[in-house]
Assembly symmetry: C2
Homo-oligomer: 334 residues x 2
């Protein structure tokens, strides 16, 4: 088996081979140009506002049921553009590769990255690799930066949110967090729960047809609770959600009960939290449920100006304030 050495990062012949034999061979026509210092973006047919986003990925382990760090990096950046109402077009890819990573694993990661990119309709317009010493880098870190476009009449953001708006989530929360945690095989726990990692573009496209759509966000690090806190902080409106409306898969519930995690704080990588005019919430729900990725979508609560907190109505009929995340339940999840 072949492994990455420090010489694969030095700008010389081995680095050129790494780029050609792995990145160029696998990604093929997805790559715009890997020779130049900078690439001209083919902007023909692209109109509207240009949108820009970036993300870093350090997931441990690198591979888990439902994906790996390569697919995750594409989904993460595509989803940040999607929830902003944009269509993604181009992405840049930075890889920090640890000396000793096997070519076999690197190829699986780059293959999944290519599949995700093709699926989302984006091209890789710039790339760079660095090799770091054995022990640093945890296999591979990726950073991706995306460019998309959206029609200039799309108005989304917390500023659009009004009292009484409904809050939806597009599917069960916490699958990604628990799937990655189980893949670590700590605590003697095993399981085949799949990560929800996916591009949310089909969901956001369906939602963009509603003129009462106010805000979309993908609940990654910090989970659903963190998105609700962002809305609360930014609007000043309280939030009231019902625990029994929030979809959580049984394996996620079970692991959370065993280990004392709260699914509200667990990362998702293929879900959308939506704020929408209450008058359109049911129609939006129906649209989401008609899509494969949205079958278990649910209306989970409302913007509630008279509440001064993020309030969770518990399954037993009580209520409690959902605090902002302070300590990390599951680090290195994305």
């Amino acid at each position: 088996m072949k492994y990455i050495s420090l010489a694969h990062g030095n700008g010389g012949v081995l680095m050129r081979e790494l780029i050609e034999d792995v990145f160029a061979r696998i990604l093929g026509d997805l790559l715009l140009d890997i020779e130049s210092d900078a690439t001209t973006l083919p902007m023909q047919g692209i109109s509207g506002e240009l949108m820009f986003t970036t993300d870093g990925f350090t997931v441990d382990p690198l591979e888990f049921p439902g994906g790996n760090i390569g697919s995750l990096a594409v989904h993460g950046t595509v989803n940040d553009l999607a929830v902003s109402g944009a269509t993604p077009h181009f992405i840049s890819l930075n890889a920090f590769i640890e000396e000793g990573l096997s070519f076999e694993q690197l190829e699986r990661i780059i293959t999944a990255l290519g599949v995700a990119a093709r699926h989302a309709g984006i091209r890789i317009a710039a790339g760079d690799t660095k090799v770091v010493r054995r022990g640093e880098g945890s296999g591979i870190y990726l950073a991706t930066t995306g460019i998309g476009s959206r029609p200039s009449d799309v108005q989304l953001g917390t500023r659009q949110i009004r009292d009484g708006d409904c809050i939806l989530v597009s599917g069960p929360v916490g699958d990604h967090g628990i799937a990655v945690m189980l893949a670590r095989q700590q605590f003697g726990l095993h399981g085949d729960l799949q990560s929800d990692a996916a591009t949310v573009l089909p969901l956001t496209r369906a939602l963009l047809t509603f003129d009462g759509l106010r805000f979309m966000r993908d609940p990654t690090r910090g989970g659903l609770a963190t998105v609700l806190h962002e809305i609360f902080r930014s609007t000043g409106f309280g939030i009231r959600v019902q625990a029994r409306q929030i979809p959580v898969r049984d394996p996620v519930k079970i692991v959370c009960e065993m280990l004392g995690y709260d699914p509200m704080y667990l990362a998702c990588e293929g879900r959308v939290v939506v704020v929408i005019d209450a008058a359109q919430a049911n129609d939006a729900l129906t649209s989401l449920q008609a899509l494969e990725l949205g079958e278990q979508a649910a209306i989970i609560g409302r913007i509630s100006a008279r509440d001064r907190h993020v309030v969770l109505e518990t399954e037993l009929g009580g209520e409690r304030v959902l605090e902002e995340l302070e300590d990390d339940p599951l680090p290195r999840i994305c």
Copy 2:
């Protein structure tokens, strides 16, 4: 003293404080928007082709005479756009921060990054931070992706190169490589050689006024020799350079002689290698020498179709083939 903990990367309250107290406080109005998933790029007044580039930075040590990893990350990406003939406008910033890095050092790095960004006239349009476990990450890694624009009539690239064209370098080579190496204080060596790290925009702007300009590149990893090999591989034309014309500072020469390095392969971070119509080479040289960063610019050789290699004429009057870099003389230099 305050240090980065894993909780600074978890999407919760400590991470928000890190973003607000360090990144937002220091970078201020350079930051377009740090709250959204994706930012709208303000494209008013920007015309021509859009150019895109990305780079990762893993320099060890993080700080060295003449710069640190923060200024390096901005210069690297700005320079990739500059040598493509573009004006840089926006940059994204990814930071992989190691648990245990002091806030003090992080602030010095982000301060230098901000100074370099202001100097180059770019704004930071997207950012992300991840915290990795102690021992993984070597303090901090950065990845930056840049967007620039260039007039659509600019034609630069190896395809423009013709037999007989002159090759220039804008200043002494290898300063960055040796400055970083000395900062490691290995081999009992010390010195105050400054890195050449700088934005090369003033140089490329001056060169773009020449219609005989064919190609520009900044010789980073792999140094001048690697740029010459790229030209050779891409054009099929041989190259002939004169060792005594290539500017190398005395401290760089001395360290190279002591340790067996070859300055031709050492990284620069503020130099440009230029290929230009021989008829305009002297005027271009005069233009470069009129600039502070180009005072020691020199014509170092020619494109030479009848040579089948990259040929170096030595100071003693002989000649040798300059091989492609195989093993890394100085890893982790940028």
